[in-house]
């Protein structure tokens, strides 16, 4: 007889996603609402692991009645999810990174959205990292705030106390901080009072992402939670040709990420001055290393 079986075993995985998706959202579509999901048209010959889904998440600084797809990206996070292993990574791109933008010349990376919409932004970030996104997801401030509210708020593990006299004068204390709605947005927007400026802001945005992940994980087993989440997103999502079933699969992939396999890095760089404006000169060698490191399996060492 075999030894008595005592341990509890668990497995949770998803089949690949990319082959099942065919999203087509032209750049010329009308101004969206809170979220826009765009299928990125990859360039030929790019080595893509079908098990890893790459989504460039963009926080748009568009004000009400402005087109978020032709605004400036305030937050840029290249998120990779490995549907077979549950690993996930996020590479934060400082908003002020000075990079070449095809057809435009050199400019801040976030200007690519303004000049050429999600496709040009995806291409610009893709050229920097050597990893092109499969999708570009653009969310407005209110979109992110509503998302956080809809999941009941999040907890961020804040490494330092900071405040901003305009955005959040009361400030955020160090340690675990509960934030909800627009507070979560403010947590990821404040830059001036952070010692590392744009770099620390990008890291804070990753803390927000981790908080969202944790909250979704906490509630994923609630009856209908994923279904309700997708339904809610569909009400505010601007897409064309994206089926609810495809979004359902993406949502389940998100909910399957293993917290022990989440890695986040912010692209390093130096502060520079171009034309009198303070910019970040990104470390392009590090960018390529991050891309090479994470491309196949969505894991990363900073």
């Amino acid at each position: 007889m075999r030894p008595r079986f005592q341990q509890v075993m668990r497995t949770m995985l998803l089949g690949g996603l990319l082959g099942l998706m065919a999203l087509v959202v032209p750049d010329s579509t009308p101004a969206p609402t809170e979220y826009t999901l765009v299928k990125f048209e990859k360039t030929a010959g790019v080595d893509v692991d079908p098990d890893v889904v790459w989504i460039l998440a963009v926080g748009s600084d568009a004000r009400p009645r402005e087109n978020p797809l032709r605004s400036r990206g305030d937050a840029l996070q290249m998120i990779g999810m490995n549907t077979k292993t549950g690993a996930a990574t996020s590479i934060g791109i400082p908003r002020d990174s000075w990079v070449p933008i095809q057809g435009v010349g050199s400019n801040r990376v976030n200007a690519a959205l303004y000049f050429g919409g999600p496709q040009l932004l995806g291409r610009t970030v893709g050229n920097l990292l050597g990893v092109e996104p499969d999708y570009v997801l653009v969310a407005t401030f209110s979109g992110l705030a509503n998302l956080v509210t809809s999941i009941g708020g999040i907890t961020v593990d804040n490494p330092r106390a900071f405040a901003d006299e305009h955005l959040h004068p009361k400030g955020f204390k160090a340690g675990k901080v509960r934030v909800n709605g627009m507070k979560a947005v403010e947590f990821g927007r404040i830059r001036k009072s952070l010692p590392g400026g744009d770099f620390d802001r990008s890291a804070n945005q990753q803390l927000v992402l981790r908080g969202i992940r944790a909250r979704v994980a906490e509630r994923a087993s609630e009856p209908g939670f994923i279904e309700g989440g997708v339904l809610n997103v569909l009400k505010h999502l601007h897409t064309k040709g994206v089926s609810a079933a495809q979004l359902f699969r993406i949502a389940q992939a998100v909910a399957q990420v293993d917290p022990a396999k989440v890695t986040t890095c912010v692209l390093p760089g130096a502060i520079g001055n171009i034309g009198g404006a303070s910019v970040v000169i990104p470390n392009t060698a590090a960018a390529r290393r991050y891309g090479n490191d994470a491309r196949k399996d969505a894991t990363l060492r900073c």
């Binding site: 008595r4 668990r10 949770m12 995985l13 996930a88 999941i151 994980a217 989440g229 339904l231 809610n232």
Partner: protein
């Protein structure tokens, strides 16, 4: 609340087993993981999770206690009943081909027939959890002591787009291995032509009471 009771559909299952049918409290399951996507209340789900029908004799195949859980979107009663029946059929096939059936046996090649190709590949790698592959050759019989299925449905604008199955299965094994396992978790499915396919899973298996 819609309810379906499905027989196992596998003749001979459970008929050679001497175990008593046991019902145990539903141990809270910590399912999980990650990131973004918007939320919901999820408050309309059935939370009774009352367990499988008690009092069945060991000689009778146990029926699946299948109920509709949370429905997000609009769905007519007829459509809801159809979804419940179709999804339960898929889950029942997995239960039967992966855990029930005649023993001893070594072949479990139909266990994941309703999984997508990728999900099937992953399931095969985790076959010790998702089937009786590891112990099948040593067993003399298996009795399914509990089959509980709750189906949450996504149906925006009345069109069914996906479903999450929350399930609980009791597997009493006898022969070279004598123990009763509890298999719990979730299956994720999307509709395909002619039915439904499993594209993801989150499954926990352990000995009952452990």
């Amino acid at each position: 609340m819609l309810r379906n009771r499905h027989s196992t559909g596998v003749p001979g299952v459970n008929r050679r087993v001497a175990h008593d049918v046991r019902t145990t409290p539903w141990a809270a399951l910590l399912l999980t993981l990650v990131l973004a996507l918007a939320g919901c209340s999820g408050g309309d789900a059935d939370k009774s999770e009352s367990g499988g029908p008690a009092g069945e004799t060991a000689s009778e195949p146990i029926a699946t206690d299948a109920q509709l859980g949370a429905v997000k979107g609009r769905l007519t009663d007829t459509a809801a009943a159809e979804v419940l029946a179709q999804v339960t059929e898929v889950v029942d096939r997995w239960f039967d081909n992966a855990y029930a059936g005649d023993y001893p046996r070594e072949k479990f090649d139909t266990a994941f027939a309703d999984f997508t190709k990728d999900a099937r590949g992953l399931a095969v790698q985790q076959a010790a959890i998702l089937s009786n592959t590891e112990v099948g050759a040593d067993l003399e019989a298996v009795e399914i002591t509990q089959r509980v299925v709750r189906v949450d449905v996504l149906a925006p604008k009345g069109k069914v787009a996906g479903a999450t199955v929350r399930f609980r299965l009791g597997v009493a094994m006898s022969g070279g291995v004598e123990r009763t396992d509890r298999v719990t978790g979730r299956l994720m499915l999307t509709p395909v032509a002619g039915g439904w396919q499993v594209f993801g899973f989150d499954v926990l298996r352990g000995e009952e009471g452990s």
